[in-house]
């Protein structure tokens, strides 16, 4: 065998190598190939960074059922809440709507806990759950008001969806549903037409950059049939005519703890960390029919980007874009003394660390000078 190195068809030199020389040659070739390939992957990553076009992430997680036997829906929502928090979305950007009657229910053998695995492995209720809408506040009207932003002026910041045109929003719904509707707390329904209209109103006001809609109910695919606004991607746990089934009962608690689709979704999310590059195509493969019994569905025709280039962390996590500050301003003048005391209020928060009470945060609110209309009081 003759190995020739050519340059555009002109043989530069040819050798008749022994077997070990062939192996060395092959190794060098593979090394060069990998080097070039990795270089491409890196530049691809940098390109992807700016491809997503979003600067912040929001999540709206809704559990639409109440009563003890719907334990699994609350566990579903809380598990997704924990994953989303773990991947970086802070509480100020999560709107959590739960009936919240599980943890302190009289029938709960372990009060103040909500478990998602049998044998009480994982308590998803934890110490730092922030439920924004609880109990009877979870209604169709409130849900639509949160989505469209039409809240009364007195609503506090934590109950609002303050997204802008560069926000990626994750919406997760779970509960009991049917063909074209979703039941809210056993008393009212939201239909797929209303949901599609709400998303259209969000689009008209540019309240989202991209939106991922996940629904885990019976006949879930019917809820995304009527969407018509751009940049929406939807996943459902079952097709029209199929039921979504629950996963495993716990004999000590006495109810089913999770739904199958969300259980496998969470197993998938456990492998995701803030800098992972897994894309949406893998998310579509979660929970095949063999595991879920129902057929999960997805809809991507309204989404402008290719799902293969969309990272999971674009929706579930909160990866920040960061720029180095190159310029500074040269401040040469010394500080002027304050002419009069500015009106301010001081709050000091304490925490108990190592059996000592230690101030952990001191917050001061100012009133800017131009707003002062009368004499100001000194700070105490």
């Amino acid at each position: 065998m003759l190995l020739c190195l050519t340059d555009g068809g002109i043989a530069l030199f040819c050798v008749n190598p022994t077997s070990w020389q062939i192996i060395v040659f092959i190794y060098i070739y593979i090394y060069i190939y990998i080097y070039i390939y990795m270089g491409n992957v890196h530049s691809d990553k940098a390109g992807q960074f700016f491809n997503s076009g979003h600067t912040n992430n929001w999540a709206v997680l809704v559990c639409t059922s109440r009563f003890w036997f719907n334990y699994r829906h609350v566990a579903n929502t809380l598990s997704v809440y924990r994953s989303v928090k773990r991947l970086g979305i802070p509480d100020s950007r999560i709107v959590l709507m739960l009936a919240d009657d599980m943890a302190c229910n009289h029938r709960n053998p372990k009060p103040a806990t909500v478990f998602s695995h049998k044998n009480m492995e994982l308590n998803v209720y934890g110490d730092d759950v922030e439920v924004d809408y609880r109990g009877y506040e979870v209604t169709v009207e409130n849900f639509l008001r949160v989505l469209t932003g039409r809240l009364p002026a007195s609503t506090p910041r934590s109950k609002r969806l303050l997204s802008d045109d560069r926000s990626n929003i994750l919406i997760y719904l779970t509960g009991h549903g049917g063909n074209g509707f979703l039941k809210f707390q056993d008393s009212e329904e939201i239909s797929n037409v209303e949901l599609a209209d709400a998303f259209e109103q969000m689009w008209q006001k540019r309240r989202y950059n991209e939106l991922l809609f996940i629904i885990d109910t019976c006949q879930g695919a019917s809820m995304y049939e009527r969407f018509y606004s751009p940049n929406l991607m939807a996943l459902a746990s079952s097709q029209v005519g199929e039921d979504s089934l629950s996963h495993q009962p716990d004999l000590a608690i006495g109810v089913h703890l999770m739904d199958r689709y969300t259980f496998y979704l969470l197993e998938f999310l456990e492998d995701i960390h803030p800098s992972s590059t897994t894309n949406m195509n893998q998310l579509f493969k979660v929970c095949p029919k063999s595991q879920c019994v129902s057929t999960p569905g997805h809809r991507t025709d309204l989404f402008l980007r290719d799902p293969g280039r969309v990272l999971i962390t674009d929706f579930f996590g909160s990866v920040r874009k960061v720029e180095i500050t190159m310029e500074t301003i040269n401040l040469s003048s010394p500080m002027e003394p304050l002419p009069e005391r500015i009106n301010c209020t001081v709050h000091i928060l304490y925490m108990c660390i190592n059996k000592h009470i230690i101030p952990t945060a001191i917050i001061m609110y100012y009133v800017p000078r131009q707003k002062l209309l009368r004499d100001v009081f000194p700070c105490t």
Binding site: N56, I329, E336
Partner: protein, 572 residues
């Protein structure tokens, strides 16, 4: 027989009259009582606003100093010229730029001012001489031989609204009026575009209305970095001290805010309301482990790990619960004694001079090293440290300017732009911001109400109450605030006239009114009823009533036909 006939006739009359009542009175009554209430909206005016034709006027004053004009050219001065340029952005949006230039010669005081040794001092004295209102530009033309500007610099832009332009060589300019204008006009247009607006800036401001594909990564980053126009902003300064056992930090934030940040915010007052608060957080860690670099003997954070710093910290930062304004966070992190000093490295592994980074639409973080202020093991812990607020505020001010959209593209070659220094913002930078904000507000307000009108048209179930209509409506309404349509028309008129200040005011009112209208809580649409449910409700009500009427009407009609057949057969 007669009674049977009378009975039959009476029955027929009864059936007919019931049918008439049902059709003429019942059906309209049912229709009116079950339709959704809609207040009157000025739909025609709203649809007119869908087509946006903006005209932006700039007043330019060009002042010739001694030695720039040939005698022949001097005869023509003073004169006025108007330049107009029309640009079509898309089918619904056209922009017209109008530059009204007044050319004159300098008076004695201005000549004296231009004789100052440096450009900065000249700028200071020139400022006192001309009263340039908001949105106007004054260009002083100096001869080529002048030493006011350093070598290689053709244009100097100062703190206010004045610029100094160096004329070309007299040979190249030419002798007559036309040649002078041919030489000067493009250069003056370039200066005006830097100091007030350029076509790219305005189209970027229209991004809400026209989703143009970004030209480059830089323009995409620019559009993503600055906050959208909002009536108010909240600024929070936080000091993070992870190691209170070693460092007792003291920062005079009140004084620093008053001296350095407040002047900038006072200047920006026409744009938005700002509220400032500050906080100190103890035991707040960064969440990323810095790497120890033995060559520098310091800990380093490389650019890739910076993205993961913000999330764990954000959970600890509070925000004002009462307002929905966007929040800008500025964090000052003092590393703990075991991880000092801490430097930030950029993508090329070089240390960053400012030791700070920022995240678009969120804020900035600066790392402040204090290890050189005390020796290890000598001083008793905790050490009292006074933070140098000048250095810190220099960085935060630069980041604040970036976040608010003040920073623009780098100046063209040959331009010398005076750095803004303590004031925080040059007057012409403020003008730039005001131009783009006004256009952005007008574009957003028109998009909002036209899409609202479209939505109301599309989704028939939305209830449209009176107060909401007031926000949209033409006349002064319930709260005595101008409606959107009026404010928009006034804003566009003021832009045409060149009054930038008033245009901004009206555009702000327009946007507030349009947001109030779009987000009115009463606009929640009624629950949608699918068709089968509608039938299920109406059929049990109407069917039992309609069936006897229909049957009797059919009976009357068939009897009438039979009688006619009998009459015909009788005739035959």
């Amino acid at each position: 027989m007669a009674t049977a006939e009378v009975e039959r006739k009476r029955g027929q009359l009864a059936a007919l009259s019931i049918a008439v009542v049902v059709v003429l009175v019942g059906v309209p009554l049912w229709w009116r009582t079950t339709e959704t209430y809609r207040a009157w909206l000025p739909v025609n005016q709203i649809n007119e606003l869908a087509e946006l034709q903006l005209q932006l006027s700039v007043d330019v004053e060009v002042v010739f100093s001694r030695g720039t004009l040939m005698p022949e050219q001097q005869k023509k001065v003073p004169f006025t010229r108007t330049q107009e340029e029309a640009q079509k952005v898309d089918d619904d949006t056209t922009l017209r730029y109008r530059y009204e230039s007044k050319y004159r010669t300098a008076n004695i005081m201005e000549e004296d001012a231009l004789k100052q040794p440096t450009a900065a001092e000249a700028d200071l004295s020139l400022h006192t001489l001309s009263a340039s209102p908001c949105g106007s530009v004054v260009v002083y033309v100096i001869p080529e031989t002048s030493v006011l500007l350093p070598q290689g610099v053709d244009v100097y832009i100062g703190h206010r609204r004045t610029a100094v332009l160096r004329m070309g060589a007299p040979m190249s300019v030419g002798k007559n009026h036309k040649q002078l204008l041919a030489h000067l006009e493009p250069r003056i247009t370039q200066v005006v575009q830097v100091m007030s607006f350029s076509h790219t800036d305005i189209t970027a401001a229209l991004s809400d209305r026209v989703r143009l594909s970004p030209g480059s990564k830089e323009s995409l980053a620019d559009s993503m970095r600055s906050f959208k126009s909002s009536p108010g902003y909240e600024i929070t300064f936080s000091l993070l001290n992870p190691d209170p056992k070693s460092h007792r930090l003291d920062w005079d934030i009140e004084g620093a805010v008053h001296s350095y940040i407040q002047p900038l915010l006072t200047k920006l007052a026409p744009l938005a309301n700002f509220s400032i608060d500050s906080q100190i957080l103890y035991y707040a860690m960064l969440g990323v482990n810095p790497r120890f670099d033995s060559s520098l003997e310091a800990y380093t954070l490389n650019a890739d790990s910076l993205a993961h710093v913000i999330n764990p910290v954000e959970a600890r930062l509070g925000s004002n619960a009462a307002s929905s304004n966007p929040v800008l966070n500025f964090l000052l992190y003092v590393p703990d004694a075991h991880h000092s000093p801490l430097y930030i490295h950029d993508h090329q592994k070089q240390p960053v001079a400012s030791n700070a980074f920022h995240s678009p639409r969120w804020g900035g973080i600066m790392v402040y090293n204090v290890n050189d202020l005390y020796g290890r093991g000598e001083t008793p812990l905790p050490v009292n440290i006074n933070i140098n607020m000048e250095k810190v505020m220099g960085v935060f001010l630069a980041q604040l300017r970036l976040m608010l959209g003040v920073q623009s593209s780098p100046a063209p070659p040959g331009f010398l732009v005076e750095p803004c220094g303590g004031a925080g913002l040059a007057d012409w930078e403020l003008d730039r911001l005001m131009w783009s904000r006004t256009v952005e507000n007008v574009a957003t307000a028109t998009t909002t109400i036209t899409s609202l009108a479209q939505l109301l048209d599309q989704i028939g179930n939305i209830l449209c109450s009176l107060s909401f209509a007031g926000s949209v409506n033409l006349f002064h309404y319930i709260n005595n605030k101008l409606g959107t349509v009026t404010s928009l028309q006034l804003a566009v008129a003021e832009l045409e006239a060149g009054n930038l200040g008033f245009a901004l005011q009206y555009s702000k009112e327009a946007i507030l009114a349009s947001e109030r209208a779009f987000f009115d809580p009463s606009l929640l649409h009624l629950l949608y009823f699918p068709d089968d449910q509608k039938f299920a409700i109406y059929i049990p009500l109407f069917l039992p009533m309609c069936v006897p009427i229909l049957l009797s009407l059919i009976k009357i009609a068939s009897e009438a036909r039979q009688r006619r057949k009998l009459k015909q057969s009788k005739k035959d």
